[in-house]
């Protein structure tokens, strides 16, 4: 068991914590969809922003201790950023989707081209984060 637990995901950034605002607009849901797809693709792992907002210690401490983390807000209101600040979690990488030129609206039919654009921007924003190896939060890595 301990041998298996010590295996680490492939890739250079598989343990990036991804926190999406997941808000009630197209850009909020784009943040969510990008986080889901990047998790499925092994780029990082989506984590629960609501748990941090609730100040549950496991979630808050995880966000504080993780070496590589990105917060994705749909718009400049910045709910994800504010949630982290309220919990005392420092921002490491940050993206606002409307800054990519995507207009905020209530159309929840997300198109794949826009999702890919957001995912590419997330990857770009994560370039300055520490890469996996030695300090990742995953077991034994």
């Amino acid at each position: 068991m301990s041998e298996q637990c010590c295996e680490t995901p492939s890739g250079s950034s598989g343990n990036v914590m991804i926190l999406a605002c997941s808000g009630g607009s197209n850009v909020g849901q784009l943040s969510n969809q990008a986080a889901v797809e990047l998790t499925k693709e092994g780029f990082g792992k989506m984590f629960c922003l609501a748990g941090i907002g609730a100040h549950l210690s496991g979630f808050v401490q995880s966000a504080k201790d993780v070496p590589a983390m990105i917060a994705i807000d749909g718009c400049s209101i910045g709910c994800a950023k504010a949630t982290l600040e309220h919990a005392g979690v420092p921002l490491k990488a940050y993206l606002v989707i409307t800054d990519l030129g995507i207009e905020k609206n209530k159309n929840f039919d997300l198109d794949s081209e826009t999702i890919e654009k957001v995912k590419a921007a997330v990857k770009e924003a994560c370039k300055g984060l520490p890469v996996e190896g030695g300090s990742s939060v995953a077991c034994c890595s």
């Binding site: 068991m1 301990s2 637990c5 010590c6 343990n15 914590m17 792992k45 984590f47 629960c48 748990g51 549950l56 210690s57 496991g58 979630f59 808050v60 401490q61 995880s62 966000a63 504080k64 201790d65 993780v66 300090s135 990742s136 939060v137 995953a138 077991c139 034994c140």
Partner: protein, 79 residues
């Protein structure tokens, strides 16, 4: 005092348990120390990775082996 080390039983989890034990002994504190290895039970704490240390229900660190001094500080705060 209730202390839990969360982790499936790997080397770093065992190191964490040892550090906690040493800190308890050096401070002369008696506590219930439990090593939680069940992944479902671990997931209930909402931690992103292991090892993790929980003292009286509060998660103190995640994904790293804490130093003995860190653990001593947490133990003294929890007394």
């Amino acid at each position: 005092m209730e202390i839990k080390v969360l982790g499936p039983g790997c080397k770093r989890c065992q190191q964490t348990e040892q550090v906690v034990n040493q800190a308890l002994q050096e401070l002369g504190i008696t506590a219930n120390l439990d090593h939680v290895k069940d992944p479902i039970e671990i997931s209930n704490y909402g931690v992103f990775g292991t090892p993790a240390v929980v003292i009286n229900g509060e998660v103190k660190c995640v994904g790293k082996v804490p130093s003995k001094d860190e653990v001593k500080k947490w133990l003294q705060q929890a007394k």
